[in-house]
Amino acid sequence: MGLVEAIILSVIAASTPLLLAATGELVVERAGVLNLGIEGMMIVGAACGFAGALYTGSTLIGALCGIGAGVALSLIFAAMALGLAVNQVASGLALTILGVGLSGLIGAGFVGERIAIAPRLNIQGLTNIPLIGRILFGQDMFVYVSVALVVATWWFLYRSRAGLILRAIGDNHISAHALGYPVLKIRTLAVLFGGACAGLAGAYLPLAYTPFFIPGMTAGRGWIALALVVFSSWRPARLVIGAYLFGAVTILQLHAQGAGVGVPSQLMSALPYLATVIVLVLISRARTGGSTAPAALGNVFVPDR
C-alpha cells in the first residue's frame, strides 16, 4: 500500500463520522430547530452500537442499535424543545450532558471488550485496482452510507416537495403554519432524523474507527459537526467539502509532524479548524454572499390554539 493511498484511506475514516453527524444536523437546522445535543447522541450511539455488535457479532445490528439510541435521545429533545417549547439551546446542552452520563453508565461493562472491526467491501478485481481500488471499492458500509445519505439529503431538500416544505418551515414557521403545514410534526421528524444520523456517526467510532468502547471516545466530534453545518451555510455540497477538508488536514498535519516539518505541533493541531473555517467562509462569500441561515432557526413555535 502506497503512502498516498494510506493517507487517503485515513482521511476517509476521519471524515466519515463528521459527515454523518453533520448531515443529520443540517436537516434539523433547515427545519428551524437548533439541536446542540449531537455530542450526547453520538456518545450514546457509540455505547449502544458497541453493545449491539458485542452481543450479536454483527456490525449491522450494532449500527442499528446506535441509530436507535440516537433516535431515542432525540425524542427526549423533541419532547422538550418542540412539545414543551423549552429553549432549544438549553435543552440541547442538557441532552449532551445526559448523553455523556448515559454512555458511561451503558458502557461501564464494555470497557476492555474487543469486537471485530467493521467488514470492508471486497470485490475481486475492482478492489485490487492499484491506488483507486481500495479507496472506491474497499471501504466499510459506513462510508458508502454517509455519501448516499448526503446525496439523498441534497435531493430531498432541493428537488422534492417535502424538502421545500421543510425549508419553508425553517424560514418562516408562522407562514407555513398559516398555510396549513404541520410545523411540529415535520420538525419532530427532522429532529428524529438528526438523532438517527448522530447515533450512526457515534456507532461508527467503536465499530469501524477504533474497535473498542471507552467513555468519552467521541472527543468533541459532535461539536465539530455542528460547526461544519454553520460554516457550510447549511448547504449539503459544502458540508461534504468541509467534512473531508477537516479530515484531510487532520491527517496531513500528523504526517507532516512525523516527517519532521518544522512547524510547532500546537499550530498544526489547530490547522484543521483554521483551514476549514477559511475555506468554507471563502466559498460562501464567492458564490452567493451573505449567510443563508434558516430565518426561524432556534425560534420556538407555539401554535395558536
Binding site: I7, S10, T210, F212, G216, A219
Partner: protein
C-alpha cells in the same frame, strides 16, 4: 426566576446527599477527585484501582468517596470543597490541573489534609505525589531498540510538557544504549485522550515506516492499530495486553495502591505530614506489565535493567547527558541529572532529529 429556582433545588439536592454521606462519623473519610471516568482504561482507571486496594487493606477503618469527570479549573474547586463539607478528612486530587484549586481549598480548611498528584505546589496540609515513569521508559527504549528491525521508532506525545519530554529522552537514551544509531519520529496529538486521533497518529507513524509505536496518550488505540498492522507497541498507564495480545511488549502500569494505603495509615495514626513523594519502580509507584512478545534474551535484558534501576545502580539520566547540539548538560545531581532538572526538562537529547514544538 426559573433559573434561581433550579439553582436552589440543585443546592438542596447537593446538601441532602452531603448529609447522608456524613452519617457514619466514626470512620475516617477519604475522598478522591478524578479527571476522567473510572472506566477510561488509563489514568483515572488506575487511580480507582488504587482506591479499591485501599478499601481492601483498610476497609473497616475508612470510608471512601470519589467524584469522577471533574473538569480542571474552577469546577474542581467546588468539587473539592463539596468533599470537605461531606466530612472527608483526607482528599486526593489526581490531576495536574487540580493544583491551584486544591491549594485554594487547602488554605480555607487547615484541618483537612490534601494530597495532589503530579503538581509542585505544597502547603502545611497539602502534600504532593508522583511517579518516576521515565525509569520504565528507559527499559522500553532498550526493548524497542532490540526489537526494531529498521531502527526507526514512532512516539505519540500528548503535550510538550517536561514529563512527556523527559519520557521521550529516557526512551531514546535507553534505545541508544543498545543501538547508538536509533532514530525516532515524534507526533504530538495535543490531547491526552482522543482515541480516534491517537489511532490516526499511530497509522501515520506506521505508514511512514516505523515498526514500533510507543505513546504518552491515554487510550489503547495505538496498541490496537499496531495489532492490526501486525507490528509492536507499548501500552500506557494500564496493562493493554487485551487490545494487542501479540503486540504489546510491556506497559508502564501506574500502581497507586501502596502509596494510598501508606498515606491513609499515617492519617489514621496521626503521623501524616505534608511532603513531596516522587516514587519510582523501587517503591512500586509503578510496575511493568509482563514482558511479552519478545525473545528470551531481550526479556532477560529488560529484567536485568529493571533490577539495576530498582537497586539504584543504573540511572536513566546518568551523566554525561548530551543535549541535541552535542553539548554536555550541566550535571547537578550526584552522577546523574538532579530531580529538578528532570522535572523541568525542556530539551531533547542528542540523536533526536526533531525540535520540541514551540521552542
Amino acid at each position: 426566576m426559573r433559573k434561581t429556582l433550579f439553582a436552589a433545588a440543585a443546592i438542596l439536592l447537593a446538601s441532602a446527599t452531603g448529609l447522608t454521606g456524613a452519617s457514619a462519623a466514626d470512620k475516617l473519610k477519604v475522598g478522591f477527585i478524578y479527571l476522567g471516568p473510572v472506566g477510561d482504561f488509563g489514568w483515572t482507571h488506575q487511580h480507582n484501582v488504587g482506591r479499591e486496594e485501599l478499601i481492601k487493606a483498610l476497609g473497616d477503618k475508612i470510608e471512601t468517596t470519589y467524584l469522577e469527570n471533574v473538569a480542571e479549573g474552577p469546577d474542581a474547586e467546588r468539587s473539592i470543597e463539596q468533599l470537605v463539607r461531606a466530612g472527608n478528612k483526607l482528599i486526593f486530587t489526581t490531576s495536574f490541573g487540580y493544583m491551584d484549586p486544591t491549594l485554594k481549598v487547602a488554605k480555607k480548611y487547615p484541618n483537612v489534609h490534601f494530597e495532589h498528584a503530579t503538581g509542585y505546589k505544597r502547603d502545611k496540609n497539602m502534600a504532593t505525589y508522583s511517579a518516576r515513569w521515565y525509569q520504565g521508559r528507559y527499559i522500553q527504549g532498550q526493548i524497542a531498540a532490540k526489537m526494531s528491525k529498521k531502527g526507526l521508532l514512532g512516539y505519540i506525545g500528548s503535550f510538550p510538557i517536561p514529563e512527556v519530554v523527559s519520557g521521550i529522552n529516557a526512551t531514546i537514551l535507553g534505545a541508544q544504549s543498545i543501538n547508538p544509531n536509533i532514530k525516532v519520529k515524534i507526533i504530538w496529538a495535543n490531547t491526552w485522550f482522543d482515541p480516534g486521533k491517537e489511532a490516526d497518529a499511530a497509522k501515520a507513524l506506521f505508514d511512514q515506516g516505523v515498526d514500533i509505536v510507543m505513546q504518552h496518550t491515554d487510550s489503547p488505540a495505538a496498541v490496537q492499530i499496531a495489532s492490526e498492522r501486525g507490528a509492536l507497541a507499548f501500552g500506557q498507564d494500564s496493562d493493554m495486553i487485551k487490545f494487542g495480545p501479540k503486540t504489546q511488549l510491556t506497559s508502564i502500569i501506574d500502581t497507586w495502591g501502596p502509596y494510598y494505603i501508606e498515606r491513609v495509615k499515617a492519617e489514621l495514626n496521626g503521623t501524616w505530614k505534608s511532603e513531596d513523594t516522587w516514587g519510582g519502580i523501587e517503591t512500586k509507584m509503578f510496575v511493568m506489565a509482563p514482558y511479552t512478545n519478545m525473545p528470551d534474551d531481550v526479556k532477560k535484558m529488560a529484567e536485568d535493567t529493571q533490577a539495576a534501576i530498582t537497586k539504584g545502580t543504573l540511572h536513566p539520566f546518568k551523566c554525561p547527558v548530551l543535549a541535541q547540539d552535542g553539548k554536555e548538560v550541566e550535571c547537578k545531581g550526584s552522577g546523574h541529572l538532579a530531580d529538578g532538572q528532570i522535572l523541568g526538562m525542556n530539551f531533547y537529547v542528542k540523536g533526536i532529529d526533531d525540535a520540541i514544538p514551540g521552542k
